[in-house]
Symmetry: C2
Subunit: 290 residues, 2 copies
């Protein structure tokens, strides 16, 4: 076990299990925060949330190749373990699990998981390999850690719903907690990929949140969802986004298309849009303006 | 918790987890034997094996609809819970988990698992839905029970290899143990489906084991696998089997076809054959005659 600025780091599943087993023998409950590193204040909120709910917190940093397509940014995704470890320690994390790709995916693995339901459409349409990769790595990490509770960000809302479904369907004995999206002073959802943005792109990115809030309010007020979604897409392009993958108002829990009106069930508005070569996502509850 | 001839029975996942959590608090290790009921001496050997390896043994009886195709024998598969409970108690089992279909598969479940590798071909070819169903129910049961060790019969050799791969690939923290096939005095592998056989069919069924042993010996002696498999298939039909799904000599661990000779890796000969409407399977190690 190596130390990085006072935060213990383990790199093997066996070492992770040993530490967690020691904790449990001492009667500690365990909270878990899986990340892909490149940590920002949003991740640290998850760590603090886990610390509120469990005696000991373990975070993982693993850039999961299984959830990237060949053309995506696996190679350039920011990696900064020493800084991540420092930030985690400051947020009250007790252990960093930072496995290699070989440790997570030994040669000869063949099992795949398909979550269906909330994994279909939206991100599942534009990044067809993602949720299979997420389901596999989350199942592995939760089985490795056997934590009492795991915290995921609402920033990746569809992923959170996919993880909830996965954990329920496979009876994984870990409570899944969603933590609200952290935003900068302009409402931009914090994301590791914001680091890719130029100053000019950052100005555009900061309008995503406002466009979604207005569209969500229009939907909550009874606007036709088709019209609301089309208007929001056009607003994003006018704001300077280069391309919009989707803007969609969906049922919040299973991401299904509303058959009746948005009053039938809690709703969520979700979007994915591009600024040059950077793809941003955001989402929020659909609620009438207060 | 109901009692059946002194064996406690739980029917909900919550009740199962409560009992197992109590056991663990008392420092007991837990062994698990998943079954579809209709127990015979082969199952009881698995229970005794689990009892050798853990302080407490829980068995499940659940006829898993997910692993039967529409035309298969789900409806007629023998169900005899009171007798099963009595047999389990006699073999040293401490708890029976007998959930309903609704308890195991709540409405709205969408997740599926594909193991690939050892699940491809043989049973995977003739019963295409089976290993997906097995993978799902085994993952759920192992996550529900979180046992230290689970015992599976070598009678279902391919299933045992599929479960080993599944557990390794998903990092399920349960040790998987295979237990040798129990046979009657004539070498017939014990199976719940033997109950379907008439006296005349039973006489034929008892030749399966000998045909496979001879074919395995021929393969081990360097015979062409194509010829060995064809000869064994013909021998089964001559013996009175109505149809042979497959006789195959494969690598024992991943069920892959041998590229070189059988000396390259441990081998297994496996077969599935029909007697009227009853389908029997058997397998054994490929080893030179002693």
């Amino acid at each position: 076990m190596a130390e990085t600025d006072a935060l213990p780091v383990v790199r093997s599943v066996a070492a992770l299990r040993q530490t967690l087993s020691d904790w449990r023998r001492q009667g500690f409950t365990v909270g878990f925060v899986p990340t892909m590193g490149a940590l920002h204040e949003g991740h640290l909120t998850l760590v603090r949330e886990a610390g509120q709910r469990a005696d000991r917190v373990v975070a993982s940093v693993f850039v999961n190749p299984a959830q990237f397509a060949a053309h995506e940014d696996l190679g350039t995704y920011p990696r900064q373990e020493a800084r991540d470890a420092e930030l985690l320690a400051g947020a009250g994390c007790h252990l960093l699990f930072a496995p290699s790709v070989e440790e997570m995916y030994p040669a000869g693995a063949t099992t795949t998981i398909s979550v269906g339901g909330p994994a279909e459409g939206l991100e599942g349409e534009f990044r067809p390999q993602m949720f299979g990769g997420v389901a596999l790595v989350v199942t592995k990490l939760l089985n490795q850690a056997r934590a009492d509770v795991a915290v995921f960000g609402e920033k990746d809302w569809q992923q959170l719903m996919v993880v909830r479904r996965l954990v329920r369907d496979l009876d994984i004995p870990t409570e899944i907690v969603g933590s609200p999206t952290m935003r900068d002073g302009h409402g931009l959802a914090l994301s590791s990929r914001n680091a890719y943005l130029s100053e000019a792109e950052l100005e555009v990115a900061r309008q995503l949140n406002g466009v979604l809030a207005a569209a969500g309010a229009a939907a909550a007020s009874g606007g036709s969802l088709d019209v609301v979604e089309r208007d929001a897409r056009e607003a994003l392009l006018r704001a300077g986004f280069s391309h919009v993958d989707y803007v969609a108002v969906r049922r919040a829990d299973d991401l299904a298309v509303f058959e009746g009106g948005v009053a039938d069930a809690p709703g969520r508005i979700l979007a994915a849009a591009w600024l040059g070569r950077t793809r941003l996502i955001d989402n929020m509850a659909v609620a009438a303006p207060s």
